[in-house]
C-alpha cells in the first residue's frame, strides 16, 4: 500500500511542476509593469529600480521562477502588496473558515444527495424518481450565488431567522458560528447534493441488477437489508471517490458563497486580492488550491483501493 501511495505521489510531481510554472507565468501575462502596481503613487525611478532589484525582476525569467518556487517550497509565497503580511500567513488564517464551511456543506450534501439517490434508484420510473431527478437537475442549474441571495431575502430579510452575513469562529461561540454558517453551507451543499444524488442513483442502479442482489432477495432477506447491506455497500465505492473529487467544486463554490455572505475565508481572500491587484496572493491561493486538489485526488485513489478488496489484492 505504501509503495502504491509513493508511486501516486511521484506521478503528482510533474503535474505540480507544470501548475507552478503556470501560476508563475500568470504574473508574466499581466499587461504593464508589475513594479508600477507595487509602487502605487510613488513613481520615483529610484523606488522603481529598488523594487525591481528587491523582487529580482531584472533577473532572467528562468532565475525568477526558481527564486519564486524555491521560496514556495519553504512556505514563502511572497508578501501581500495590500497588507504587507506574508501570503502564507494570510492563507493559513483564512483556511479554517473555509474548512468549516466545506465540512458543513458536505454534511448537507450527503444528508440530501445520498438518500435521494438511493430512493430514486430503488423507486426507478416512479413519481418519486422523477421528482428527485427534477430536484437534482434544478440543483445543478441554479446559480448558487442567486440561491444565496434568495435565501437571504427570505430567511434573513423577511423572516429574520438567521443573520445575512458575518462569521464567528466555531470554538469561540459554537451556536453563533452555526447560525452564521448554516445558510451558506446549505447553499454550497445543494449543488454538491445534486451531483451526489445523480452518481448515487447511477451506482445503485448498476448494483441493483447484479446477481448477488437477486440472490439476497431470493434468500428472503428484507428489502432494507438488500438495499443497505448488499446494494449500497457496493455502490458506495464510486461515491467515496467522487466525494473527494468534489473538493474542487467546493472551493470554487466557496468563492461565491463567501462573497455573498461576507465570510472572511479563502474564497473571499482571492476575490479581494483580485480587486486589490494583489497578485502574490492570487498566485498563492491558486497554487494552494491546486496542491489541495492534487492531494484530494490522491486521497480518492487511496480510498478506492482501501475500500475495494479486489484492488487491494491486485497491489
Amino acid at each position: 500500500m505504501l509503495s502504491y501511495i509513493g508511486r501516486r505521489l511521484l506521478i503528482a510531481i510533474p503535474t505540480l511542476i507544470i501548475v507552478s510554472i503556470f501560476v508563475f507565468s500568470l504574473q508574466k501575462i499581466l499587461p504593464g509593469d508589475p513594479v508600477l502596481a507595487m509602487a502605487g503613487e510613488d513613481r520615483n525611478p529610484e523606488t522603481l529600480e529598488y523594487l525591481r532589484e528587491k523582487y529580482r525582476l531584472n533577473d532572467p525569467v528562468i532565475h525568477q521562477y526558481f527564486y519564486w518556487i524555491g521560496g514556495a517550497l519553504q512556505g514563502d509565497l511572497g508578501i501581500s502588496l495590500r497588507t504587507n503580511q506574508p501570503v502564507t500567513q494570510l492563507i493559513a488564517a483564512k483556511l479554517p473558515v473555509t474548512i468549516q464551511l466545506a465540512i458543513m456543506s458536505m454534511i448537507f450534501a450527503f444528508a440530501i444527495g445520498i438518500p435521494m439517490g438511493i430512493l430514486s434508484a430503488v423507486k426507478k420510473g416512479t413519481v418519486l424518481d422523477y421528482v428527485a431527478n427534477i430536484v437534482a437537475l434544478s440543483g445543478l442549474s441554479i446559480p448558487n450565488f442567486w440561491l444565496g441571495i434568495m435565501l437571504i431575502l427570505l430567511v434573513s430579510v423577511n423572516l429574520g431567522w438567521l443573520p445575512a452575513s458575518g462569521y464567528e469562529p466555531f470554538f469561540r461561540d459554537p451556536i453563533r458560528s452555526l447560525e452564521t454558517m448554516i445558510m451558506p453551507a446549505f447553499v454550497l451543499g445543494t449543488a454538491l447534493a445534486a451531483t451526489l444524488m445523480r452518481h448515487t442513483r447511477s451506482a445503485m442502479l448498476g448494483v441493483l441488477q447484479a446477481d448477488y442482489v437477486r440472490t439476497a432477495r431470493a434468500k428472503g432477506l428484507s428489502e432494507k437489508a438488500v438495499i443497505l447491506k448488499h446494494t449500497f455497500r457496493n455502490a458506495v465505492l464510486p461515491i467515496v471517490t467522487l466525494s473527494a473529487l468534489l473538493f474542487g467544486e467546493l472551493l470554487a463554490g466557496a468563492v461565491l458563497t463567501e462573497q455573498i455572505f461576507t465570510i472572511p475565508g479563502f474564497g473571499k481572500l482571492i476575490v479581494d486580492a483580485v480587486f486589490n491587484r494583489d497578485y502574490a496572493v492570487v498566485q498563492g491561493v491558486v497554487l494552494c488550491t491546486a496542491i489541495g486538489f492534487i492531494l484530494m485526488n490522491l486521497v480518492a485513489d487511496v480510498l478506492y483501493v482501501l475500500l475495494n478488496p479486489r484492488m487491494r489484492q491486485a497491489l
Partner: protein, 290 residues
C-alpha cells in the same frame, strides 16, 4: 472479393438519423431545446424589439416595482429591468457559446494529437491537462480574468481556457477507443496520411460525445460568466448582464427584491434548457441506448 471498410463518416450518417429520431421523440429534451431557442431568439432580436433603452436612466423611476410601464420593475437608477434582461441574454448566450467554441477549438486538436500519436507527445499534453484540471474551473477563470483584466471578452477567454482540458481528455479517450478499429487500421494500411485518417475516419467518430459535452459545457459557461460578472470580472457597467444585475441587486434586497429575482430566474431557465438538451443528446447519441 475485397470488403471495403466503412468510413467513420458513413457510420456517423446512420447514427445521426437514428439519434435525430430518438432526440425528436424525447419530449424533455425538446422542451430544453425550446427553452434554449426562446432565449436565442430574444437575444438576437434585442436590437429590433420595441423595448426601452437598457441604459436609459430615469431619476423619477428609481426602484419601482413591476407595473404596466415597467413589466419587471426598474433598478437603482431607474433603468427598465425587462429591457436589461433581454439585452443581458445576449451577453450570457454569447459568453456561453464563444467560450465553449474556444474550449473546443483548442481542446479537440490537442486531444486528437495526444490520442492519435501517443508516446511523448501524449505524455506532455496529458501532464499539462492534469495541471489545468488541478485548478478548479472557477478559480482558474477568476485568476485568468483577473490577470487579463475585467471585460466580457476576457471572461470568455478565461472560461474557454478553463474548460479546454475537459475537451482534451474527452477527445483523447474517444481517439484511443477508435484508433484500433478495423477501418482505421485499413486506412493506415492503404497508406493514407495521418491528417487524412484523422479528418476522415477519427474525427467523425469522436464528434458525438464532443457535441454532448459542448452542450452541457455551455450551461456551465453561462453560470461561470454570470459568476464572473457577479464578482465584477465579466461584463462591465453600464452594459447589462444577468450576473452584474445580481451583483447590484444584492445591495437593495430589502428595498427592491424584484431586482434580484428576474436575472436569477433567467439564468436558471437557460441553464436548465441546455442541461435538458445535453442530457437528451447524450441519450440519443449513446450507442448502448440504441
Amino acid at each position: 472479393m475485397t470488403v471495403i471498410p466503412e468510413t467513420g463518416a458513413e457510420t456517423l450518417g446512420r447514427q445521426e438519423s437514428r439519434a435525430w429520431k430518438k432526440l425528436k421523440s424525447n419530449k424533455i429534451a425538446i422542451f430544453g431545446f425550446a427553452m434554449v431557442m426562446f432565449f436565442i431568439v430574444i437575444a438576437v432580436l434585442a436590437p429590433v424589439l420595441p423595448i426601452a433603452d437598457p441604459n436609459a436612466t430615469s431619476w423619477t423611476a428609481i426602484r419601482q416595482p413591476p407595473s404596466a410601464a415597467h413589466w419587471l420593475g426598474t433598478d437603482e437608477i431607474g433603468r427598465d429591468i425587462f429591457s436589461r434582461m433581454i439585452w443581458g441574454a445576449q451577453a450570457s448566450l454569447l459568453a456561453g457559446v464563444v467560450s465553449v467554441a474556444i474550449a473546443v477549438t483548442l481542446g479537440v486538436p490537442f486531444g486528437l494529437i495526444s490520442g492519435y500519436f501517443g508516446g511523448w507527445t501524449d505524455q506532455i499534453i496529458q501532464r499539462m491537462t492534469d495541471a489545468l484540471l488541478a485548478m478548479p474551473f472557477l478559480i482558474l477563470a477568476i485568476a485568468l480574468a483577473a490577470f487579463l483584466g475585467p471585460s466580457l471578452t476576457n471572461a470568455m477567454i478565461a472560461i474557454g481556457l478553463s474548460a479546454m482540458p475537459i475537451f482534451i481528455r474527452l477527445t483523447r479517450g474517444q481517439v484511443l477507443a477508435v484508433k484500433t478499429e478495423d477501418y482505421v487500421e485499413g486506412a493506415r494500411a492503404i497508406g493514407l496520411s495521418h491528417g487524412k485518417i484523422i479528418r476522415r475516419y477519427i474525427l467523425p467518430n469522436v464528434f458525438p460525445p464532443i457535441l454532448v459535452q459542448a452542450t452541457l459545457t455551455v450551461a456551465t459557461a453561462i453560470i461561470a460568466e454570470a459568476s464572473l460578472s457577479f464578482l465584477g470580472l465579466g461584463q462591465q457597467p453600464p452594459s447589462p448582464s444577468w450576473g452584474s444585475m445580481l451583483n447590484t441587486a444584492k445591495n437593495f434586497l430589502s428595498q427592491a427584491p424584484w431586482m434580484a429575482l428576474w436575472p436569477g430566474i433567467a439564468i436558471f431557465m437557460v441553464v436548465i434548457g441546455f442541461n435538458l438538451l445535453g442530457d437528451g443528446l447524450r441519450d440519443a447519441l449513446d450507442p448502448r441506448e440504441n
